[in-house]
């Protein structure tokens, strides 16, 4: 249910994103999905990648601030209203969602990553609701 997410702090300066991607590609890191949260002065680049810990070390060695967090990966069925159903279950349990983004992974349904205020409880609720989720192994096997 949980997958590892790599986040990197980026100043809004020309070429910083390119620099991060260059480091990862030359290190042979396979990036599965990206999402960039931007403010006027900086951004937080969030990625789902294979070998996230090694990816973090590569970035750290190059002077970037990077961290690993666990996010919930669920597969939302291809049907109208199904995303809302997932979100509603969390809302009903008073769990806040910091952010959410789509994972570009082929297959049936629409995979998304969710950062919730109480990850463990959120995961339990979703399990109870039989929401299809993804694990690190699922990603490794892609």
């Amino acid at each position: 249910m949980f997958i590892k997410q790599l986040s990197v702090f980026l100043e809004n300066k020309e070429g910083r994103l390119d620099e991060v991607l260059k480091i990862l590609s030359s290190g042979g890191i396979d990036i599965l999905s990206v999402s960039l949260a931007d403010t006027s002065e900086y951004g937080v680049l969030r990625m789902i990648a294979k070998e996230p810990d090694r990816a973090r070390t590569l970035l750290k060695d190059a002077g970037f601030t990077a961290r690993i967090d666990e996010v919930i990966a669920v597969v939302v069925p291809d049907a109208v209203g199904s995303l809302q159903k997932v979100i509603y279950k969390l809302h009903e349990a008073d769990i806040n969602i910091s952010y959410i983004y789509g994972l570009s992974i082929d297959g049936k349904g629409a995979p998304i990553a969710i950062r919730a205020s109480e990850p463990e409880r959120a995961a339990e609720i979703l399990k109870r609701e039989n929401v299809k989720t993804l694990t690190t192994e699922d990603l490794d096997n892609l």
């Binding site: 986040s7 702090f9 403010t39 900086y42 937080v44 002077g63 961290r67």
Partner: protein, 433 residues
Amino acid sequence: MIWNEAKECMSRDEIESLQSARLVKVVNKVYHNVEYYRKKMQAAGVEPGDIRGVEDIDKLPFTTYEDLNATYPFGLAAVPRSELVRVHASSGTTGKPKIGVYTRRDIDIWAECVARCLSMAGITRDDIIQIGYGYGLFTGGLGAHYGAEYLGALVIPMSTGNTKKLIDMMIDCEATAIACTPSYLLHVAEDLERDGLINKIKLKTAICGAEPWTDEMRDQMESRLHIKAYDIYGLTEICGPGVACDCEYHKGLHIWEDNFLPEIIDPATLQHLPHGSSGELVITNLTKEGMPLIRYRTKDLTSLKYDKCDCGRTMARIQRFVGRSDDMLIIRGVNVFPSQVEAALLTVEGTTPHYMMIVDRIGNDDTLEVQVEVAENIFTDEVKSLEKLSLEVHNRLKTAIGLNAKVKLVEPNGLEHFDGKSKHVIDRRKLYA
């Protein structure tokens, strides 16, 4: 006009003999009334009897911010508490503020010093003067106020923070003079121009201080506002504004040598330097009762000229300030030390001592940007947490230094390359040009 010709135009011999008599008196006074000074002098192996005149000044130990911090608040007071009537303070490097305490006579002498300065700028009892310095612990507001009242001018105590009202009253009351920081006056000029009010004002004179400024700024003020602008110098520890001021010849700031004994030292070797040398300005209070400072290191770098000025005054002239021997910055007239910023950052959990202060002047306003490195221990994947951190840093800085700084979060390796006067400061203003 010369306010006190008997003093301001004394011959060099007369000045030195007056200074010598007053130096002997003040040294005796602090030796007997201030334990801290007595111990300092004893440690330096000097007794009051060794000081027979100004030629013995270099036998005395210096006084620095560290001494003020160690004796805060009243440890250097040389009179009983009941004789003190006022406290002023400005920010210190770390620790405690720099404090000054005054007797009633100190306030009078200070007021006369300011009156001499105003008079030097051509201001008289017929003038209407707006005081645009902050009133409070800062010496600017009350110092200029008392001086202007002493002179007999009509004083409008504007204080700071409301430019619109200042302009309204400048026009309505037909103010002829203003005392404020030079950058603020240029800001006022901009607003007057924007609103087409330049020909509505009756301003003739500005007396500007609390921060260093350049001839270019004077040219701007004078041509845009059709006024004459004068530079006034002072520091809280010595008394406040009015220690020195420039006359219509703009050949340096006349320092009131009957009250303040100036000297120049080499900030590295601490040697007293002969007349005409460049170095750090050191001042001894000759007449202050409340808290006279002996050989106080101002950290301002300059030189002194002793020849008679075309204006008729003989009082030595402080030449252009070329910088500071410490890392103090003056931003919007507020004294700021990088160490204060560092201390404030350390109160925010997780922030590293890796920071950079970028000081600039945009238009006529000083700006301060504080760049804080986002190290691993403060980085999160959630933008709201980072924004909260920025806000907290901003608020802590506001409390510590009294300025609204722009806080910018930066990548950790971004702060390695620097130039400027300290590794934590880039000052893009050209104040000492």
